[in-house]
């Protein structure tokens, strides 16, 4: 029996078409994988089903009945529960309190609620301690609380958005048992993933999205292999667009990363022994599904995150013990994934942001030479074609592309030897993407060594001299973009060996 039917869903956002007639059919009593690259429209489609978005066109049907959700509560009432990647739990509440919040009886008898939550958990084989406070729990346990929240509200369709991204392998296996026990009760689970092995292990059928459209509908997972999955996700290897022609030979070493290990606050090794080098004028691309350690790797190289082991060297000088600002002084530039916050201060104006790296050199005494600061900002604006109406207004009004050009420009202004660019084109429009890519290419030909971390395979193939794939905190494979196929790289990103 068909539990969920999404039919011809269109959803447009300003400048982006997230879903272009996507469809999905999920049978009751099954675990259904939804696959696709970042930006394929998976999360948007799921948010339509969860009542967060209203589709521009298309129909949502549950058990054959058409639904018109206007808010998440409508979807919850209709039996759709969604577990987001960022958990929505209150750390100081107990498991039982989190589960019951918003759906509790008028009088909450603590032990009774805890017993009910324990019973519910046992029914689906979820291990949990209802009386413990959530902050004490591992990520896997927290995820189970989120699942319990949905079950408490009697969800018949449970959407899990990349649920294994935060889990240890054992926790992931446990999750697989939970989803199958839910399916055994006749419920449906929609499992968003990039990883082939877990799709094969946990799911019955798979639907693949690409560019907002459904490219494969309800395939049996037994028919799926790494090559087929990668091909469906990233598409046929179309003619490689404007592959960068190297203008200089790879020169001396400018960045050396050796056996770098970074642990997160939960003690997980999010970067687990990464080594690579970058030469003068070289662009080293790092591909990978989000959450495989790229972000902490970039922060650690920049000096914003402390490392457990390993070393970072800039032009043969070990900078492992140095603060971020000292690394900057030695020629490291960083364009972080969080443009606003880490990179730019949104409440300050363009001039103030433009001089962030150089303010100490502007003016001799304790005062900042505003004239110099302004002329620097003006020259950045001209060089990098940043469109601002006024120099003295807060950044908040600038578009993403202008913000990014300002940040990139500022980082490149004092001629670094190494640039770490993390997701530098994400969220930009076509022209914005091209402008940033052109800057990167130009800088490389001027001899800057660049680490380009991206989730956009097209970009990585076009720009990189070497292509590394990160998986679960490690560099799992290295490819030559001239000879590798996208299917190969896609398979490595999904964890195939």
């Amino acid at each position: 029996m068909t539990a969920v039917e999404l039919d011809g869903i269109w959803k447009r956002f300003p400048g982006v078409i997230a879903n272009a007639g996507a469809s999905l059919t999920v049978q009751s009593g099954t675990v259904h994988a939804v696959l696709g690259e970042n930006g394929a429209g998976k999360t948007t489609l799921m948010n339509v089903l969860a009542g967060v978005y209203k589709a521009d066109e298309g129909a949502v049907r549950l058990d054959g009945v058409e639904q018109h959700f206007t808010k998440p509560a409508d979807a919850i009432a209709a039996g759709v529960g969604m577990v987001y990647q960022e958990f929505r739990l209150i750390p100081t509440f107990t498991v039982a309190e989190n589960v019951a919040l918003g759906a509790a009886p008028r009088i909450v008898a603590k032990s009774a609620i805890e017993q009910q939550v324990a019973d519910l958990a046992e029914r689906f084989g979820l291990h949990t301690e209802p009386g413990r406070e959530v902050w004490q729990l591992s990520m896997g346990e927290r995820q189970r609380v989120e699942i319990l929240k949905a079950l408490w509200r009697n969800a018949r369709v449970l959407i899990l958005d990349e649920p294994t991204a935060v889990l240890t392998p054992d926790e992931a296996k446990e999750l697989g048992r939970i989803t199958s026990s839910m399916a055994a009760e006749g419920r449906s689970v929609i499992f968003i993933s990039h990883k082939l092995d877990e799709v094969k292990a946990f799911c019955d059928e798979a639907t693949v999205l690409r560019g907002g459209k459904t490219v494969a509908n309800s395939l049996a997972v037994d028919d799926l292999d790494a090559a087929r999955m990668a091909e469906l996700m990233v598409g046929e290897a179309t003619a490689v667009s404007q592959r960068r022609i190297r203008t200089t030979a790879v020169g001396e070493l400018v960045l050396g990363v050796e056996d770098l290990v970074v642990h997160d606050i939960h003690g997980r090794a999010v970067v687990d022994g990464v080594s690579f080098t970058v030469g003068r004028g070289e662009i080293v691309g790092i591909a990978g599904v989000a959450g495989n350690g790229q972000r902490p790797l970039a922060d650690a190289i920049a000096g914003l995150l402390s490392t457990t082991a390993g070393s970072v060297a800039i032009t043969h000088t070990d900078v492992s013990a140095m603060a971020a600002s000292e690394r900057n002084a030695r020629g490291l530039a960083y364009v972080p994934e969080d443009r606003i916050g880490v990179g730019l201060a949104p409440r300050m104006n363009v001039v103030d942001n433009a001089m962030m790296r150089s303010y100490k050199t502007l003016g001799a005494g304790p005062l900042v030479d505003r004239g110099q600061a302004t002329s620097r900002a003006t020259s950045l604006i001209e060089t990098y074609n940043i469109k601002v109406a006024k120099l003295d207004v807060p950044l908040a009004g600038l578009s993403g592309g202008n913000l990014q050009r300002l940040l990139v420009g500022r980082e490149l202004d004092d001629e670094p030897v190494v640039l770490i660019a993390a997701q530098p084109t994400r969220g930009l429009d076509v022209q914005g993407v091209k402008a940033i890519q052109d800057i990167l290419v130009e800088q490389a030909s001027d001899g800057v060594g660049i680490v380009l971390i991206s989730e956009d395979l097209e970009e990585l193939f076009a720009l990189s001299d070497r292509l590394l794939v990160m998986h679960e905190g490690r560099v799992s494979r290295e490819f030559d973009p001239d000879t590798a196929t996208r299917a190969d790289v896609g398979a490595a990103m999904a964890g195939a060996h």
Binding site: G41, L304, A345, P346, M348, D352, L367, V368, V393, G397
Partner: protein, 362 residues
């Protein structure tokens, strides 16, 4: 739900705070008029009397400016901390600490000449105010203890210290009735500037101007603003948040302490109520000035006039507290009006309610 919703403006409305302040002032005067009418007073008569006594003559201006000195310095103290996103609610206590320290110096060297004694007293006041802020600063910088509550609590401690001193060790044995400290030596009084105003006005103005310039133009002030705007960005460019918190809070206390020291130059002795609520009023001043020194100066003079006017109408049977009421209403009116400088009204677009939540994958 309502068809209309508030949308954050890309850039705050230019001149928005002036608009908000004017709205606040109008609201406050209107509400004050209602109160006066309810208590059988003629608001126009009362308001014109207030304006006349505070702004109507050079003498009126001199009293207004004298009131503006502690208001402005307390406001600046709050604004200094506020520019880094910290709250110094302890200006009231730091004013007292400054006055205590100044008095202490005067008691140690009652025979020193004025030009020696006055700078020493002011220096001691600065140190005293800074010392009272040191504890909250250390606790905040090293242990992350909320500075709002610690500075607030120390106000009450400082009030009790001065109460203890004037009732005990510093009690004037010759005074009858209310316990007070003995008068300060004559040469401790600040030289007169004009009418009733003394050079405290110049000192305070100089501090506000110099600090305002320094905060806006120096590398140190720049670092402060970066730290206040984004802790991560500050770390990236090598600014130590801990040092910044410590220096800013102590500096803030020192500025408030100076206000206490300058008060000694205008009143002949330290009394229990030496701070007169200026520390709390300073928070209103700073909030209305959006933590900018230039704004602090303007608001301080306006509020100084209100206070002078409030005292002047006591003879009419109107409590001086009308000035406090109007001050509070100005702030509340301005807080309400500020919504329209940072937000604009827009029609609610269907389905857009939660649009910002899921943009990442769109």
């Amino acid at each position: 739900m309502f068809g209309l919703r508030l949308v954050r403006r890309e850039n705050p409305l230019p001149g928005g705070q002036v608009f908000a302040f004017m709205v606040g002032l109008i609201v406050a005067l209107a509400l004050g008029a209602v109160l006066l009418l309810l208590t059988d007073h003629d608001p126009i008569e009362i308001y014109s009397k207030m304006a006349d006594s505070s702004l109507g003559s050079p003498q009126a201006w001199s009293t207004t400016l004298t009131q503006a000195v502690p208001l402005g310095l307390a406001g600046l103290a709050v604004a200094v901390a506020g520019s880094m996103g910290l709250w110094n609610i302890g200006a009231e206590g730091q004013i007292i600490a400054g006055a205590i320290a100044g008095t202490w110096i005067a008691r140690l060297g009652p025979d020193l000449a004025g030009p020696v004694l006055i700078p020493l007293m002011l220096l001691a006041a600065v140190v005293g105010g800074g010392l009272l802020a040191l504890g909250p600063a250390l606790a905040r910088a090293h242990l992350g203890v909320n500075e709002i509550i610690t500075t607030l609590m120390l106000n009450e401690v400082a009030i009790r210290i001065v109460r203890y001193l004037v009732n005990g060790p510093w009690k004037d044995p010759t005074a009858v009735g209310f316990p007070v400290a003995p008068e300060l030596p004559e040469q401790a009084a600040l030289p007169t500037l004009f009418e009733r105003a003394n050079i405290g006005v110049l000192i305070a103005a100089a501090v506000v101007v110099v600090f305002g310039f320094f905060a806006a133009r120096s590398k140190w002030g720049y670092e402060l603003r970066v730290a206040g705007s984004s802790a991560q960005a500050a770390e990236y460019i090598g600014i130590s948040l801990r040092t910044k918190i410590l220096t800013v809070l102590v500096l803030s206390g020192a500025i408030a302490g100076l206000a206490g020291g300058l008060r000694l130059g205008s009143s002949s002795r330290i009394v229990e109520g030496i701070a007169e609520g200026w520390g709390f009023a300073g928070i209103i001043v700073a909030a209305l000035a959006l933590m900018r020194p230039s704004g602090v100066a303007v608001v301080a003079v306006a509020f100084g006039a209100l206070r002078v006017g409030g005292t002047a109408i006591k003879g009419q049977g109107v409590p001086a507290s009308i000035a406090d009421i109007i001050q509070a209403f100005v702030l509340m009116g301005a807080l309400g009006a500020a919504v329209f400088t940072t937000y604009s009204l827009a029609r609610r677009a269907p389905g857009s309610e939660n649009a910002s939540m899921v943009e990442a994958d769109a």
